[in-house]
Amino acid sequence: MGRKRDIALAAVVLLVLWEAAALALDSMALPQPWQVALDTARRLADGSLLDDLAISTLRALAGIALALATAVPLGLMVGAEEGLRRRLSPYIYLLYPVPHVVLLPLIIILFGIGEFSKIFLIALIVFFQILVTTRDAAKNIHRNYYLAIETLGASRLQVYRHVILPATLPKILTAMRISIGTAVAILFFVESFATTRGLGYIIMDSWGRSDYVALYSGISSMAALGFSLYLLLDRLERRLCLWTQSH
């Protein structure tokens, strides 16, 4: 409870600072928070913002889901199977440091300017972050755990299910925490061109029209989206990793 109160308090302090800065600057470029809140509420009420929020949320979630579905199994296997690790690690070593965001033109050439390209770029960037963390976590599982499950007569699949996955889960969730920030940043990037929907579009569009209140409304919504994903992950972690909180 104390933590929730502290977070609420921090939110209030930030709002007060914003209000003070807006009053002090007295510029169109920095509207007051209540003006933004009013504008956001109006857009939510008439449904226009809801659409953009929904499409952005879907793009972010689909990208993260696609990355998870591929990076976690691959990372677990590369980490846990020595032969696979020896063969694939050099490729990961070479491909991981590439700034994947520069592949955007290539992705558009390959997949067009539709939804898939946007989701794919988010997935691609998050993929490597999760892959590397998962691989390292799976590699460092103590030998004792393998011995223990072997003496109980487990199949290889059961070893994954009862040892490798649960042992690496806390690390995977930490990787996801970092990935959410990245995913939302890339979301803004992919929504800033070749689309007329999404929060990124709202931000770019209102910027172009010098509609600063709408601009801040878009920015706040994007922040809220990132924050909600963070909260969701918190929930997930508390449910899935009870044992790390029990000491």
């Binding site: 004792n144 011995l147 009870l242 044992w243 000491h247």
Partner: protein, 247 residues
């Protein structure tokens, strides 16, 4: 029945083979108990892993009737911190596809036998060392093994807890009528629990002496003269590497 005849074992490391065990021979009768004792680094654990089928000998014969139905208690217990006490104990049965009801009933009974009733929902990290040890014992017993292998099961416990758990191991061994092989570096533990004592020494490890100790496991054996004399004998064998007097 366990038969080890002229078994040798080495670990290859970077092209060279480091011999670990040399010319090991001994037998253990069905439902008997055997303690393997020796200084650190003499290959005790490797010998246990040979018996459990986790390693294969380079030369010689290791024959263990009922090896497939064995349970193992590892050093530091090998419990899974991400599973509750009940899930740890039931895991061997779950891996075999045993019906849920049977698993729950078995777990409940074993937790009762080990004095752990009410702790099924705890995580291992929330328990003391002695309690974790009893969880490991319950987990090994859950699959109703014909042979129980133990690798220094009590080495990290305080003296009193240790004695209580030695009594528990003796009780389990007598009541369940199983074959038991225990690796230890404690002379008193070997004499209290092993009807047959394999004294290992040297590098690579070899059998210094086989000591028969038919009184092992008895309730007040610890307070008897025979117990004391056997301890002295083992100490002398270990010190003088095999030149001690007969008991």
């Amino acid at each position: 029945m366990i038969t080890v005849d002229s078994a040798c074992l080495g670990f290859s490391h970077g092209g060279t083979t480091l011999p670990v065990l040399r010319d090991i021979s001994f037998t253990v009768e069905e439902c008997d108990s055997c303690a393997v004792i020796g200084p650190s680094g003499c290959g005790k654990t490797s010998l246990l892993f040979l018996l459990a089928g986790l390693l294969r000998p380079d030369q010689g014969v290791v024959e263990v009737a009922g090896q497939a139905q064995s349970g193992m208690i590892l050093q530091n217990y090998g419990l899974f911190p991400w599973k509750t006490v009940a899930e740890n104990v039931g895991l061997g049965l779950v891996l075999r596809g045993t019906a849920r009801k049977t698993v729950l009933a078995t777990v409940e009974r074993l937790l009762g036998e080990m004095g752990l009733s009410g702790f099924g929902g705890h995580f291992p990290g929330q328990l003391s060392g002695g309690m974790q040890q009893r969880v490991a014992m319950a987990r090994a017993l859950a699959v109703e093994p014909r042979i129980l292998f133990m690798d220094e099961p009590l080495s990290s416990l305080d003296a009193l807890t240790r004695e209580r758990l030695q009594n528990l191991i003796a009780e389990v061994w007598l009541s369940k009528r199983i074959t038991m092989v225990l690796v230890t570096h404690s002379i008193e533990e070997a004499v209290f629990l092993g009807r047959r004592i394999v004294v290992l020494g040297g590098r690579p490890g070899r059998v210094l002496r086989l000591v028969d100790n038919p009184e092992a496991g008895g309730g007040d054996y610890r307070d008897s003269d025979v117990f004391f004399r056997r301890c002295v004998l083992l100490r002398q064998i270990l010190k003088g590497e095999g030149d001690g007097p007969e008991a």
